[in-house]
């Protein structure tokens, strides 16, 4: 009696473990249903991706929503039928510059001819993609500008800092994993910041708060700026783009960091923005995707992404490729 019970419970445990580790249920369900993933936390990446798909916002993106950029990468890595999107720094490995182990970046079929041509093929390494973003071969959105904002205009040492970021500061963007701005763009932004007043005393405290997406870059800029002007101190905190906006508009900080487009309601309140660097969102799938070979050859069109994330017209991987 006791022996039988032991055998039975051992068997049950085995069944569970098998199901757990092998995912043996796969064959029971027909076809390859697409598991669509998106971000649960309100963020610039999701907003940018929704903008790319049409006149949409994050709240319109369908799919299972996961917390945080690393969370989304992890979810797609774990799900052979998954599709998601990630910021550059989370889709590619920091050290090797290749797509993260377990992930593949889906090429976008920009000219919509049903295959990936040589001039659309720049996803093999992060360096290539960064180059494509800087030269605007990779469209914007899903590439995006990251902004420093304030109320009305930058003044005093905050303006000094923003000016420096747009000039000498640009060289550090690549090292931290961002994309520097093109030359013409920088000139446009500099003219928005306005002429420098000569002889300003560069000392005091610059307070900054806002988007997580811009935080590592601004910290690096602050370190370099401090080397040049040792009497300047920084007080930088991350708490989301909305917090940066509220703090900057309310005068609680000198500079707000914002990783999404500015809403009209915010411009009405006097939000003033300057682009300082670029980042991009890329679509990602699991490396064991059942149609991966075709995906890499054919890429995906914008409308296909929209049908996956917004309208829900496409639900099977075999309908994604020809």
């Amino acid at each position: 009696m006791r022996k039988m019970r032991r055998v039975l419970s051992g068997f049950l445990v085995l069944v569970f473990l098998c199901a757990w580790f092998s995912g043996c249920g796969g064959w029971i369900v027909e076809g390859y249903p697409v598991s669509v993933y998106t971000r649960s936390d309100a963020c610039g990446a999701a907003e940018t991706w929704a903008n790319y798909l049409g006149d949409y916002h994050q709240e319109d993106l369908g799919g299972t929503a996961v917390y945080g950029d690393p969370g989304l990468a992890e979810a797609v890595k774990k799900d052979a039928l998954g599709i998601g999107y990630n910021n550059l720094n989370y889709a590619y490995d920091m050290d090797t510059g290749k797509p993260l182990a377990g992930l593949s970046v889906i090429p976008i079929d920009l000219n919509e001819n049903g295959r990936i041509d040589a001039d659309e093929d720049f996803y093999a390494s992060k360096a290539e993609l960064v180059q494509a973003i800087a030269t605007e071969h990779y469209p914007s959105p899903p590439a995006r500008d990251l902004y420093l904002v304030t109320r009305d205009e930058f003044t005093g040492i905050a303006r000094e800092f923003v000016w420096w970021v747009l000039t000498d500061g640009q060289q550090y963007a690549g090292e931290v994993g961002y994309v520097g701005l093109a030359r013409e763009k920088i000139e446009g932004e500099l003219s928005k910041v306005g002429e420098m007043q000569p002889g300003i005393e560069v000392e005091g405290v610059i307070t900054i708060s806002g988007a997580w997406a811009l935080y590592p870059m601004v910290v690096r800029w602050a370190e370099e700026f401090q080397k040049l002007h040792p009497r300047v101190n920084f007080d930088i905190s991350a708490g989301g783009a909305g917090k940066g906006m509220v703090d900057a508009l309310g005068g609680m900080v000198d500079i707000g960091m914002v990783s999404r487009e500015i809403y009209p309601a915010e411009i009405e309140k006097g939000a003033f923005k300057v682009s300082v660097t670029k980042d991009a969102v890329v679509p990602t799938v699991n490396e064991n995707n059942p149609v991966l070979e075709k995906l890499v050859l054919e890429g995906m069109k914008r409308q296909t992404f929209t049908d996956v994330w917004i309208t829900g017209k496409i639900t099977d991987w075999e309908d994604v490729v020809s």
Binding site: G25, I28, S40, A42, T64, A65, Y67, G242
Partner: protein, 297 residues
Amino acid sequence: MRFRRLKDLLASRLMLAVTIFSGLLVVLIAGGLFRKSSPILAMKPLSELLFSSSWHPLKGEFGFYPFIMSTLWVTGVAMILAIPLCLLTSIYLAEYAPSRIRGIIKPLIDLLAGIPSVVYGLWGILFIVPLVRNIAPLFGSTTTGYNVLSGGIVLAIMVFPVIISISEEVIRTVPHEMREASLALGATRWQATKLVVRRAALPGIIAAIILGFSRAFGETMAVLMVVGNVAKVPSSVLDPAYPLTALIANNYGEMMSMPLYDSALLLAALVLLILVFLFSVGARLILLRVERSYGIE
């Protein structure tokens, strides 16, 4: 002599003030939330806010129904999983376990209470989500694994230590004479537990379950990491859900610059507070009735 009295008077007044203050806190919090959420209450009828399923804040549609239902679903599933397991564990620990086993297991369970909720969330993503994903097809359906069931399992494990340690203490306070009398009449241990100990310990066990429920209602991080966060009313445990707590945590930092959005999120907090309040009042009424029917004052 007089000084001694004075000290006593001072101490009692001071304690009264502190007590009133902590009692008032909940009123202050509710008041603050109400004031901050008044812009949206002024713009939209309450019935639409509470019973509309359409959540598109940037288009001006604020329906909290999916979030309220999700909170109830996830909490419900967690409690259905937790209550039987916790009761059996606490009965075993209090009535059956040799003191050596109890000495090992009890601290381990208490340790569960000290694990930060993000760690539960990560653990949920790494183990529970794949487990649920791979087992669902055996029941003829597919899921990403981010759903009510995963949220419920993680949450159930988080309320284990609360319910187990309190009910175990309660069961142990049942006087020994009661057990011995029933054992002396030839009852087995299980019969003694079921017929005698249970009756005496029930009100305390209900109180323990209520505490577990309150914890489950308010838990945020661990749940939001595994529950899928889709703003739709779930229709089965394999559907994703989006509890109120997750709604607030996901959006507050990014969206507080949009006046109406900000106010909607604070209304979500107020709704959650009211939900928990209604629930604990209801639970207390049940507790009162149980105590009365057993003649315990």
